[in-house]
């Protein structure tokens, strides 16, 4: 039904639920676009309002070249993706939910890239994690969807925890949580003693989010999401959050040996591994997913360096990649919708049936492959400039980039040449027809932009790329020229080598795939390792739960009281015993007999073998305590104690008398010893408290003000209901919650125990 509605009449099938998000995203894009002239001219715009003034935390937003580039990509691609989804998922029974998730994700992502405060940034960072979890698991009926969504949540969530620790350390080291404030301090962070911990924890966050080796396995699995989500999350946004953050703090953190080594090496490994894995895929969407990994690896690689060429390459490739990747993802969605499959082996000859899709696919793929005159070509040239400008091992880095680029070209061929222009090996499940305009708008605009920017690279150089490089380096002279023809030089030679190698790889991609399959079948499979890790974690949790939660009440109580006694004794051991003032001179017959009553009750509780006798003698102790309160004229406390004691005896009797009988009770030495220890510990605490003089200030205050201000003579009650009413309210709320929880627990076990 969704099919008929979606592609039949060419109109959207979700009503206002579909239109509103598109309009909203478009308005956001327009709003951000108006900052373009100012930011291109080098302005930095900032808004802030206090949030947690005592900690100096602000709700602050910053618009500079870097954040505006991201904001425009996010809102622009977001608009097109929402427009596309409205047709792609036309008539879906949960479309409203989908649109909400996607819009919420977009807004979180915008907040992330605009935030100028570490804490605010973290809030948005986690919001993107949650919303992307919801989006990946959107098709929650499928087991695989749920599993992959959870995997993404676990990996990025765990990274988020490390990230939070890093942000706190960074705020501590910089003395402020303002990001621009930290960057303004120049090299201070790099020389700080905490630099290494900050670097490691922040990197853990950024690398999990941006799926760098060794956390790369979750990203291809996240393709369980509907295709527009993949286009959005995995091209322009979520996965680039980590890259964004590294770029944001590049001025403060980069330039050290460890930064250079880790980012360059792991970035290069991710880039190469992902390129090989991409060529191996037969599912078009999976192939694109791996090329995203490759792009992220390349971006991280360039962030490892500091040269103007590397920064310009970073800024350009960031835009290039978002444009072609989003359009190719959307095109794969069109193919999937039209033919019912994404398997390369079943696709071919679609150019005749879907001419527009084929044309836009060709445009996007040319940019991806790096052919002139597309912006992808300039991006590729700049990558070679950047790689060759590396201080150490430029040949290795340039070689890695060359191999990755050649593989990209081959993958571009597999994804957008083969399905359209060759004969299929097997027939597709459905007869294809052209996609409706809403689904073509995105690829059309994005792919055309790739060509326009290629022909007029000054648009970018003077605009977003230039401004981004200035954000990264703080120096307008570091902006390198973007041009199609720079004469015959090393990058051009490398480009030509890329074309030759890439075309060879494309022609022989089937053979290459077989070889890669053989290779990857012997290398470790991270995804399977992840499952193993989870199983191990569950087994560990089960083992320790059985150990600690063994279901025996006596064990729990024993442990609780042992900890109490141990803790108190440890405190005394550390701070020394108080001066004890033990005189029994004023111990009259009343107090003496009450003490004797308590001791007798305790001893009887410990040695009796009858339960009812034990409960009753415990009650005796409690009532003796109540009598003590009366002797010391505290009637309120005495009454409360008496009533609580009565109810406790009743409750304990209700429970205890009906529990299964234990084997004949013997004298339990360990329990008795523990009781004595707890008693001794509490006694020591009481004596220590009494040893210091009583501070009567509060008592005096209440005595004086109770009647004139609160019109009550019973100070205890006046404190409860007036002076400290908020505390009392909290307490009674706890009472209700405890009662309800206990009630619920008793109710739920009812069916099980019977």
């Amino acid at each position: 039904m969704a099919e008929a509605k979606g592609s039949g009449n060419g109109l959207t099938g979700n009503g206002w639920v579909g239109v509103v998000p598109v309009t909203f995203a478009g308005a956001l894009f327009a709003w951000f676009a108006q900052f373009l002239p100012a930011v291109s001219a080098g302005e930095v715009l900032r808004w802030s309002m206090p949030w947690i003034p005592s900690q100096g935390v602000e709700i602050a937003f910053l618009v500079d070249g870097l954040s505006l580039t991201f904001a425009l990509l996010i809102s622009g691609i977001g608009t097109l993706v929402l427009l596309y989804s409205n047709t792609y998922l036309a008539g879906h029974h949960h479309y409203a939910r989908f649109a909400l998730f996607l819009t919420a994700f977009m807004v979180s992502m915008l907040g992330l890239v605009l935030a100028d405060d570490l804490i605010l940034l973290f809030v948005f960072w986690e919001l993107t994690t949650f919303t992307s979890y919801l989006l990946i698991g959107f098709g929650h009926e499928a087991e695989k969807s749920r599993r992959n969504a959870l995997q993404a949540l676990f990996v990025t969530g765990a990274g988020g925890l490390a990230f939070l620790a890093g942000l706190i350390l960074l705020g501590f080291a910089g003395g402020t949580t303002s990001i621009s404030g930290i960057i303004a301090q120049g090299d201070a962070i790099k020389e700080h003693a905490l630099y290494l911990p900050i670097f490691v924890t922040l990197l853990a966050g950024a690398f999990t989010k941006s799926a760098q080796v060794p956390f790369h396995f979750w990203l291809p699995n996240a393709m369980a999401a509907p295709t527009p989500v993949s286009a959005f999350l995995h091209s322009a946004t979520m996965v680039k959050a980590g890259v964004y953050f590294l770029a944001r703090l590049h001025p403060s953190l980069s330039g050290t040996d460890v930064w250079f080594a880790v980012l360059t090496i792991l970035g290069a490994i991710t880039m190469l591994l992902a390129s090989f894995l991409a060529l191996r895929q037969t599912d078009l969407k999976q192939a694109l997913a791996y090329t995203t990994l490759m792009a992220l690896g390349a971006l991280v690689l360039f962030l490892g360096m500091e040269t103007g060429y590397a920064m310009t390459a970073f800024a350009t490739f960031l835009i290039v990649h978002s444009l072609y990747k989003a359009s190719l993802f959307l095109i794969v969605g069109c193919i999937d919708k039209a033919t019912g499959t994404r398997e390369a082996e079943y696709l071919g000859g679609l150019a005749r049936l879907m001419p527009f899709t084929a044309a836009f696919a060709a445009l996007a793929a040319m940019s991806m492959a790096g052919f002139p005159p597309f912006i992808g070509f300039i991006g590729k040239e700049l990558k070679y400039y950047g790689a060759l400008a590396v201080a150490e091992e430029p040949v290795l880095v340039a070689g890695a980039v060359l191999i990755a680029n050649a593989l990209m070209l081959a993958v571009a061929g597999v994804v957008s040449f083969r399905p359209f222009w060759t004969k299929p090996a097997n027939p597709a499940p459905k007869q294809a027809k052209e996609a409706p305009w809403q689904m073509l708008a995105g690829p059309a605009i994005l792919a055309t932009l790739g060509a326009i920017f290629g022909l007029f690279p000054d648009l970018l150089e003077d605009g977003l790329v230039g401004a981004t490089v200035v954000s990264l380096t703080g120096d307008a002279r570091e902006v390198k020229e973007l041009k199609l023809w720079a004469g015959i030089n090393m990058p051009l030679i490398l480009s030509i080598a890329t074309f030759i190698l890439g075309i060879i790889l494309y022609v022989f991609h089937r053979q290459a795939r077989t070889a890669l399959d053989r290779f990857f079948s012997v290398t470790p499979d991270f995804d399977a390792r992840w499952d193993g890790f989870l199983e191990g974690l569950k087994a560990l949790a089960g083992w320790q739960t059985l150990l600690i939660q063994n279901g025996k009440l006596t064990t729990y109580l024993f442990a609780t009281f042992a900890v109490i006694a141990g803790g108190i004794f440890a405190a005394f051991a550390a701070r020394g015993l108080p001066e004890l003032n033990l005189t029994f001179a004023d111990l009259g017959w009343k107090k003496a007999s009450l003490a004797a009553l308590m001791v007798a009750g305790c001893v009887l509780t410990a040695i009796t073998s009858s339960r009812i006798a034990a409960i009753a003698s415990l009650g005796v102790v409690g009532i003796a305590v109540a009598l003590v309160f009366i002797v010391f004229s505290a009637p309120d406390v005495a009454i409360t104690q008496l009533l609580v004691e009565t109810l406790v005896v009743v409750l304990v009797a209700v429970v205890m008398l009906r529990l299964p009988l234990l084997p004949p009770a013997r004298f339990r030495a360990a329990h008795a010893a523990l009781s004595v220890a707890v008693g001794a510990a509490v006694t020591l605490v009481m004596l220590a408290v009494l040893a210091s003089p009583l501070d009567r200030r509060l008592t005096d205050y209440f005595e004086v003000t109770s009647w004139p201000e609160a019109y009550g003579r019973n100070i205890v009650n006046v404190i409860l209901v007036d002076f400290r009413a908020l505390d009392t309210f909290g307490e009674i709320a706890v009472v209700v919650i405890a009662a309800l929880s206990a009630y619920a627990l008793l109710r739920t076990t009812k069916g099980i125990s019977r």
Binding site: P635, D636, I639, T640, L643, V644, T646, L647, V650, L651, V654, V655, R658, L659, A710, Y711, G712, R713, N714, V716, N717, V718, L720, V721, D722, A725, L726, T728, F729, I732, A733, V735, V736, A738, A739, L740, A742, Y743, L746, R747, T749, K750
Partner: protein, 139 residues
């Protein structure tokens, strides 16, 4: 525990305890007592009834679910606290009204403090009974 004497006795004892509990609640501001103690006394009265006549009888006599009593009590206490807001005071500041006050006599006092204490009473009463009844029925 089906003792005829106990059952007959508790009918009166429980009633007495309930009346006494209200007395404890109302005198609480000036004499020993208050919502907490009152609630405990009232609950004790019903607990005796539970022991003598069983949970089912007690529920019938109570008519309302005890946990609902507790929840309503919490709501009343919150209301009493929020009542300070329209008068521009901090939350949980007691508001007083003295009916028929003259120069010498401050009249009959009414206050949100008492309302708050009634909330406390209901919370304690309802929570204890919810627990006792659930345990009695469960085990």
């Amino acid at each position: 525990m089906k003792s005829v004497i106990l059952r007959a006795g508790t009918r009166y004892l429980a009633g007495l305890l309930l009346i006494f509990s209200v007395y404890m609640l109302l005198r609480g501001h000036n004499e020993p007592g208050g919502g907490f103690i009152g609630g405990l006394v009232g609950a004790t009265g019903f607990v005796i009834y539970v022991i003598a006549s069983g949970a089912e009888e007690a529920r019938k006599a109570l008519r309302v679910q005890p946990q609902n009593i507790a929840m309503v009590g919490l709501g009343i206490a919150l209301f009493a606290g929020l009542f300070a807001a329209p008068f521009g005071d901090a939350l949980f500041t007691g508001q007083w009204l003295f009916i028929g006050a003259t120069e010498d006599d401050k009249g009959f006092p009414l206050s949100t403090v008492l309302v708050f204490d009634i909330g406390v009473y209901m919370v304690v009463f309802g929570s204890v009974l919810a627990l006792v009844l659930a345990m009695e029925e469960e085990i």
